[in-house]
Subunit: 350 residues, 2 copies
Amino acid sequence: MKIDDLINNSGQWLKGCGDHSDIVMSSRIRLARNLAKKPFPNKAKKKELTEILKVIQDTVNTIKLFKDFLFIRMSELDSVDKQLLVERHLMSHDHATHSDGKAVLISKEEVVSVMVNEEDHLRLQFMNSGLDLDRTWEIANSFDDALSELLEFAYSVSWGYLTACPTNTGTAMRGSVMLHLPALVMTKQINKVLAAVAKLSFASRGFYGEGTQAIGNFYQISNQVSLGHSEIEVIQNINGLIGQIIEQEEQARQALVIQNKPMLEDKIFRSYGVLRNAHIISSQETVELLSMVRLGADLKIIKDVDRHAINQLLIMIQPAHLQKIEGKKLSASERDIKRACVIREKLGGK
Amino acid sequence: MKIDDLINNSGQWLKGCGDHSDIVMSSRIRLARNLAKKPFPNKAKKKELTEILKVIQDTVNTIKLFKDFLFIRMSELDSVDKQLLVERHLMSHDHATHSDGKAVLISKEEVVSVMVNEEDHLRLQFMNSGLDLDRTWEIANSFDDALSELLEFAYSVSWGYLTACPTNTGTAMRGSVMLHLPALVMTKQINKVLAAVAKLSFASRGFYGEGTQAIGNFYQISNQVSLGHSEIEVIQNINGLIGQIIEQEEQARQALVIQNKPMLEDKIFRSYGVLRNAHIISSQETVELLSMVRLGADLKIIKDVDRHAINQLLIMIQPAHLQKIEGKKLSASERDIKRACVIREKLGGK
């Protein structure tokens, strides 16, 4: 498997299947781990980072679970390839900025990815389609167990796993769920929901990760607190909260269908029509229109589009993807044309 | 032929054929005539109007050219039927407001229509597709000749035909041409063109007639002066002016294609996409989008729509037409839904 092969496939988390996949796009578990007695990456010298990377590489090479993983050193990648991995949610923006001693490991179908020497020595990410934190946690746990057998992690009996940033200390686990909440937005209930989320000490972010605004009605909800509760407790808390949000979104969708079907059909089909016909389109407009088309598919108002295609498009329409597809650098206005072209092909437009 | 049959067919002037039919939608000749020694309609009493109507009806019944014409008394029509005739450009708003002694005659394919007792005793209208004022004038002339043989018209050797409004005195002829000028609008040259039109003493109006604003880039250009020139001279003048406008629109279209094709394709296909997918749409938005689709068809950017369908839609999306198609009264918001439905059917949308 090579980095270029990624483009032609989609991550398992985009398949649009699994529990509540009409509202829950994907579930994600992230673990932070650091090697004992080694400086955190931001304090380590270049040589130390290289040594840490070697230890980790040698270790994963002996672990069966990591068989067939793509192992990529940041220093081997050009800026477009780096951006491609960021766009696929396989690594962070920060991980792309300095290359020294950094690498990323990616499993088939992108369920598992590991950043080496980002903020922590190891940042393990596990992603699945639909609402599936429990099974995702099981996978995460098995990888953590396998690594723990061979690596000594920085751990304190009183504090739990030690991490570069104290907010991650404890379980060093973050569970998050990507939600699509168009009806709560359209019925103007979203701010109430997000206020409740914040009050319960959960964080909400946009589709394109930390620091991004919510566009296209996508909201990623994750736990803030990782200290003082077991992983299972944290996941139960998230599941409880997400269950309530799902119920509210379902009710809002029902209300829209019953009270304002023509308006809903109009919005959905216009969005579909524009996506299938535009020849120049920005990513912001695309995501907003895709959101409406996804709602249309979920409500069976549009019958010939599936969620998988829409989810894939959310990834494919980003700059690095468009440039990889085209096979060359593209200016912003060239990308707007290429984006429209990719969308029309995918959705069978003109 | 009945009034309800009109809906299922389109006027010949909407066929989208004839000279320069990419830019010139239709050509129209209007003649005003009054019976000698009878008061103009605005001065005539109800009884006089009825007598005038009877004279005209008896006369046309003996003229072969009027065979198969639909003869409709205003008093026989409900408000929707009246509005239907206005929407089809077969009679004026004014003609619909008071019914006394008023009638309208309509030929097959709506090439000829005659208002009896509107502002003048006879208002004859002749419409054809494309730029075709010469042939349209020949048709008008033959009808005028046939009527003149049997009716004495109010005529002065020094003033020509006498009419209720002095601006029509003389030839009492108005020639007009409906133009579609999207490229002149998009390249912001239209105001310069309209200023020149006004300076040359021609009038410009919107698609929906006198007193309407230009929407959808449609402009109806007609002569203001009907005194002091023969009909042939007036038509030559109009043809000269229209020829120049056509040339400018053609140049502007070429410039757009060469300089900004992606923007043009985007605008055109988005319009097409919205029309084929909207479920609620106003008439204003419809006309604007149809204008872009018409341009797309004319430039062969859209290949599967013909001008005839677009021209027909410009008529069909109006309130009375929608209500006749539906077979019942519709509120404004019900019409917006029905309009979208009619458009989707016609353009093969979702």
